[in-house]
Symmetry: C2
Subunit: 385 residues, 2 copies
């Protein structure tokens, strides 16, 4: 079996789908029981694929991989972070399995090309959020990175101390951090802000997150609103009236914060506006807002992905591919997710696509000339004109 690692080409993408340290988990004979008993697995990496994440071609060679410009040729499995670009689909071997993030609804042309090429496309963001798939959950692992990064970026932008400091020259009060959305990213932002000694408050529409927030030493903000629980740990969308009321109730908490970190996004959908420009402008001058949802529309009105804008004296940092800002470790976690998924497919031999398996059924977008992901199939069959 041949596994190829693709060099990423999307601007700003610094991650790599397989770090050198994990090559041996794929090539190791003891973990490989291929169908014909020959146990031969080769990993081929495109030159420079790991460079932006700090991994050299030599690192890959030393790990047992081959570095080759034609790594894709004849590969049974193709690994990448961003989906393989449409213009490269022709390079794939017939029936190749691609494993990557694949925002199918936004990449319909690509999905069509993968389908028509007879390729099996697995989308990491569609791996079901069930216990046995936790080690394959790339959305969570990358959110973990983004949450840490959000807190560190905010601490660096804030022109004041985060921790309480008692010195011979007087006492410095701790800063207040408000985190909206207590999913994986939010919890990690809370934990990191707490590490730095800030007073942290957090809010989430899911009341179930209150315990997790409190266990990190933060205060859970209770709003007088009915709670929303979604499936798979995600929040459901809410009505406009409820959103308005929520913003109104959040306003004083936002105004009181030195740092606001927002992390509320619903996969594949436009992020909800939780904070208006007016609410931002009501914060003290010099305060800092980090919007991790900026790429999917933003939780904060006026936030721009990849930019820092100032609204009423408040700095608003809009996230853009935030995990790529810590590329070595984001790659390490992502690689672990990908390798675990691949080893799961291979259990007992060559990779098999078994739709009785909840994980495969969940994350498979195309297979054997068909689009298996129902919402994407509907979009392809009934294009929005």
């Amino acid at each position: 079996m041949k596994i190829a690692v693709v060099g990423e080409t999307r601007p700003g993408e610094r991650r790599v789908a397989l770090v050198p340290g994990l090559v041996s988990r794929l090539t190791d004979v003891s973990t490989d029981v291929s169908a014909d008993g020959t146990a031969e697995v080769a990993v081929a990496v495109e030159p420079g694929a790991g460079a932006a994440a700090g991994y050299t071609d030599d690192d890959y060679r030393q790990a047992g991989a081959v570095v080759a410009g034609d790594a894709l040729r004849g590969a049974d499995v193709v690994l990448s972070v961003q989906p393989i670009p449409e213009y490269r689909i022709g390079e794939l071997a017939p029936g190749a399995i691609t494993i990557s993030f694949l925002p199918a609804a936004q990449e319909l042309d690509l999905v069509r090309a993968l389908r028509d090429g007879g390729h099996t496309a697995l989308a990491m963001e569609l791996v079901p959020r069930i216990s046995r798939a936790q080690a394959m959950d790339a959305l969570s692992s990358q959110s973990f990175v983004a949450g840490y990064r959000a807190a560190v970026v905010a601490a660096e932008r804030l022109p004041r101390f985060l921790p309480l400091s008692m010195t011979a020259s007087g006492t410095i009060r701790p800063a207040t951090v408000l985190v909206l959305g207590a999913g994986v990213a939010g919890l990690q932002a809370i934990a990191t802000s707490r590490r730095l000694g800030a007073v942290v408050r957090a809010y989430d529409v899911r009341a179930a997150s209150a315990e997790e927030v409190r266990s990190l030493g933060a205060e859970f903000v209770e709003l007088d609103l009915p709670t929303l629980e979604g499936t798979g740990g995600y929040a459901r969308e809410m009505t406009e009236e409820r959103s308005r009321l929520q913003r109104e109730l959040l306003a004083p908490h936002v105004a009181d914060a030195d740092v606001l970190i927002t992390t509320a996004s619903v996969p594949g959908r436009t992020a909800p506006i939780l904070v208006t420009e007016e609410m931002v402008a009501a914060m003290r001058p010099g305060s800092v807002v980090v919007d991790l949802a900026a790429e999917s529309g933003g939780n904060v009105e006026g936030a721009k992905p990849g930019e820092e804008v100032t609204i009423g004296g408040v700095l608003v940092w809009g996230g853009a591919n935030v995990p790529s800002q810590l590329p070595a470790q984001a790659s390490q976690l992502y690689s672990t997710n990908v390798v675990n998924l691949l080893l799961h497919l291979r259990s007992g031999g060559a990779p098999t696509i078994d739709f009785d398996d909840e994980i495969v059924a969940g994350c498979c977008v195309t297979h054997a000339g068909e689009v298996r992901h129902a919402p994407t199939r509907e979009l392809l069959d009934n294009p929005v004109s």
Copy 2:
């Protein structure tokens, strides 16, 4: 008695010598026992003096101060962070007391003007480092701010996690931070890096600092060199041969670090080069160096104050007026130091300059037409041509 607060004019200076919250400590009748029993203390602040630190003119008015363009006129005491500019000396009332940082050896023209005007100039950096003057120690309070800032800047520039992180997608190893110089700034950099979960090592020529370093959960790097102890908690300068050997012994520790923070400076002297460009280039690509001593020549060869340069793939951040980057709280601590010194001078009446007092004798640069600070007097009498 009239106390004036000067608006700072030096580029990049964002601090203010008196924050609104401390005005009442000067004007409060209970703490004021003026010589004539009238207990009248007025604080006059130049318009916009606190703006860059986040304090408005209204904040000062509400605190009981007067905001006036001619705040200096007739003031008995003049407070600033940077020394009052030479062109403004003529605005001082006869015999006025100025309290500010005053790097006398570098400001000989200014010292001469203060002397010839008959003014009493007190230099905050010359306050002796004795227990009862701890609350007036502005060098320490500002170093405290710089040390925190150094760690946060490094964490933000480093493209990896600082803390050990154990996730369902694998374990992330903690980053390693090396701090050179374990004075106030170094200890605060250590404490903040430790808060963020890094593995921290530290070195100081003073063996006495080992215990402090260890008490913060960091490892003290022992080099096979004779130790140096200075007076007043400062390190003495060392011979070139010893410096070379020290660099040689430090090299492997530097190469092993993800973050290097240097804080070694001897007040009023050029900082020692602890780390060469070659040593920086031997660090892993993506590593980060923060040189807090960049303004006084730098501990790191190639570091430039106020700039970020790259040496062999390593980012080198050179500090420039680092306390001004957290201006509100740096000002708060500095104000506390200044107020404590002023209240010390006033104990029992109007400010008195008593050279039997160790604190006054230590920090007084000019008084009654004379230069009282011996090293500065020598420089003035025997100018280096």
